[in-house]
């Protein structure tokens, strides 16, 4: 039973299980595959690096416990995001980290490419984007982040606890804000 759940869950993660897997194999593989994206999500959420790493591991640990208990988890990736999101809510230090990242990003982007003019334009676009994103609510930013990482509207809704139609609205508002920042 647990093996069947593991195989089904692995398939939902985007990988077909070549051989029968234990729950532990599944969680380990999922952990390797998705820990970085969940970690980055938590950092942008406002956690410091240590707390983000801890919460990421905790989310996968809980996934293991649930699957071992025989809980049916249709989409373990979205489930792990949701648990990590909830853990972050309990220990979030604030939004300062996002601001710091916006500053850090400028130097990161400016380093790309050999054409200085192109690099300058890129830098300016990224600055405008960062400004526009700062004008969005945290939930709107979370929707954009999770969508960019491949979660569907329903999965995003489950992760942050809002209606799927609200996800659509938040995404539209977010994109409209970015579009306006870049084209006006």
């Amino acid at each position: 039973m647990v093996r069947a759940i593991a195989a089904k869950a692995m398939s939902a993660w985007g990988r077909e299980a070549a051989a029968p897997m234990t729950v532990r194999d599944l969680v380990e593989a999922a952990f390797v595959q998705s820990r970085e994206e969940i970690y980055v999500y938590l950092i942008t959420f406002g956690l410091d690096a240590g707390a983000a790493q801890e919460a990421t591991q905790e989310a996968f640990l809980r996934l293991h416990v649930e699957l071992e208990k025989g809980t049916q988890i249709r989409n373990p990736r979205a489930w792990a995001f949701r648990v990590a999101h909830n853990l972050a809510l309990t220990s979030r230090a604030g939004q300062r980290r996002t601001q710091e990242l916006d500053a850090e990003i400028e130097s990161t982007v400016a380093c790309g490419g050999t054409d200085p003019e192109r690099a300058l334009i890129d830098k300016e676009r990224m600055r405008l984007l960062a400004e526009a994103l700062n004008g969005l609510s945290s939930q709107q930013r979370q929707c954009l982040h999770l969508r960019a990482r491949g979660l569907r509207y329903q999965e995003i809704a489950d992760t942050i606890g809002i209606a799927p139609s609200t996800v659509g609205e938040f995404l539209q508002r977010g994109i409209a804000r970015l579009r306006k920042a870049l084209h006006e």
């Binding site: 532990r24 809510l89 990003i105 984007l129 939930q139 579009r179």
Partner: protein
């Protein structure tokens, strides 16, 4: 789905198309429109460009994220540790004296943070409904649709008949729309309810259960009820209708507005005058002093216990603070701004949006439109006073409050007259013909004034701002007629 060749697609449709969130039929319609319409194709490309830029931005952010402080290692070790700590697993290490305290702390932490069994929607609703029976209490609720927002008390369902009809058609209680029992009764009528239950935190960090029930057959395609985890009190209900109308009902605050009264005895209770309106009037006067009654989406409502609540959505933080400071000296005032989301204001109705480019193109038109903007704001503020203080309520005011109300009214009327005079001058309108004397109360005049101000604004927009490139523009005579009606209303 609005995708005929004659109406352009909106951004949400374009985004949902790319995200695979449209039905096959909708996708086909949107694609067909895109093939035919260059303008929408251009908008589509811009949406895609914004998405692409955002992904690049996110990648750059990810690259700048600090590395985890420790190597990742494997999850294996933590799973093993978890198993060792399970009951029945003997420890290889002696237990120090503080072991008990640490274990107790861990147990408390586990109690709070370990995933709990999520109850089913039916179980949660049953529990929540039974608690409602035990603590019936009328409370203030805010009802927000895509275009409007108002506050009323539960069971006082006299406002907004269109919404009432909508709720009746869906089989959802309009009288008490923020209730587990109402949600449950609606859910019981569904042939195909599909439930989801999420335990999360709301925007204020309060632990909540969210029950979302979807149906393919009801006129409500999905309803979501948010219950506070601690006492299962309904905090919020959202109904998504098939025609894309969205109605959100929220509790105005956590404080009960009047003592619990059973439904039956409440219905038989003789109607008695509400608490004197002085508190609310003073709040309006305070808001007037900083111009917050002109265009800011501020609501002022008196509750059953005599307290006055100022609420609003989408108000900038700085403005919120100004309002708080202004009313700080007034006793018994509750200020409650919704800061969770900056919502878009409803489509133009009582405010004027002047495109930036217009300022560069035609100063004359700008002046006219600015005047119209100010005039509309005043007409709207006066109309709101008329709504809040109808004749019957006005008759119960004290002399002092009547004087305050008159002074607020005069202030708005003087401003309207001044705006009309300047409009006339700017338009070089022919000399005014003697206006007929209006009949009825000042409240009725306020209604006529708002109508005339809207007509004037509409005519100005169409003539001077070319807001609608297609269609017949009104004549100057039509504009003059609307301004004359304005003058009649402010007699």
């Amino acid at each position: 789905m609005n995708s005929s060749p004659w109406t352009h697609l909106d951004e949400r449709q374009l985004l949902r198309l790319d995200d695979g969130e449209l039905s096959e039929r909708e996708s086909a319609e949107v694609r067909a429109h895109l093939q035919a319409c260059w303008q929408c194709r251009h908008a589509h490309e811009q949406v895609r460009a914004a998405v692409s830029d955002y992904v690049r931005y996110l990648d750059a952010v990810s690259a700048s994220v600090p590395a985890p402080p420790r190597p990742w290692g494997t999850i294996e070790a933590r799973i093993r540790n978890t198993r060792q700590s399970e009951p029945g697993v003997s420890s290889r290490y002696p237990r120090p004296a503080w072991y008990g305290a640490v274990a107790a702390t861990l147990l408390i932490a586990l109690f709070f943070f370990w995933p709990k069994r999520v109850l089913t929607a039916a179980e949660l609703l049953q529990q929540a409904a039974s608690r409602e029976k035990a603590a019936e209490a009328p409370r203030a609720i805010r009802i927000r649709t895509r275009t409007a927002q108002f506050t009323r008390t539960v069971r006082n369902a006299s406002e907004n008949m269109a919404l009432k009809r909508r709720f009746d058609a869906a089989g959802y209680s309009w009288q008490d729309p923020l209730s587990a029992r109402s949600f449950s009764e609606w859910r019981d009528t569904l042939k195909d309810p599909k439930d989801r239950v999420v335990s999360t935190r709301d925007e204020n960090g309060v632990p909540v259960h969210r029950i979302a029930t979807a149906s393919q057959t009801s006129t409500v395609k999905e309803a979501t009820l948010t219950l506070r985890e601690g006492d299962l009190r309904p905090l919020n209900t959202v109904l998504e209708f098939r025609d894309n109308e969205r109605v959100e009902i929220s509790e105005v605050d956590d404080i009960e507005l009047s003592p619990a009264v059973p439904v039956e005895s409440r219905a038989e209770e003789p109607s008695k005058p509400k608490v004197p309106a002085a508190g609310e009037l003073q709040v309006w006067a305070a808001l007037r002093s900083i111009g917050a009654d002109l265009g800011d989406p501020v609501e002022v409502r008196e509750s059953g216990d005599g307290a006055v609540t100022i609420s609003g959505t989408g108000i900038e933080l700085q403005r919120q603070q100004e309002i708080r400071n202004t009313v700080a000296s007034l006793p018994g005032i509750r200020v409650q701004f919704d800061t969770a989301e900056r919502v878009a204001l409803p489509p133009r109705g009582d405010t004027v949006e002047v495109p930036v480019s217009r300022a560069e193109t035609d100063k004359h038109a700008d002046r006219l439109l600015d005047l119209s903007d100010g005039l509309l704001a005043r007409a709207h503020a006066l109309h709101r006073l008329a709504e809040r203080f109808p004749v019957a309520r006005e008759s119960r005011l004290s002399e002092r409050d009547l004087a305050l109300l008159r002074s607020l009214r005069s202030d708005h009327l003087d401003a309207v007259r001044d705006h009309v005079r300047r409009l006339r001058a700017e338009l070089r309108m022919p000399a005014a013909t003697p206006a007929s004397q209006p009949t009825g109360s000042w409240q009725q005049s306020a209604e006529r004034l708002l109508t005339a101000a809207r007509e004037t604004d509409e005519a100005l927009q169409q003539i001077f701002a070319a807001a609608r490139a297609e269609g017949t523009r009104p004549t100057l005579e039509h504009l003059y007629a609307t301004i004359t009606r304005l003058e009649e209303a402010v007699q």
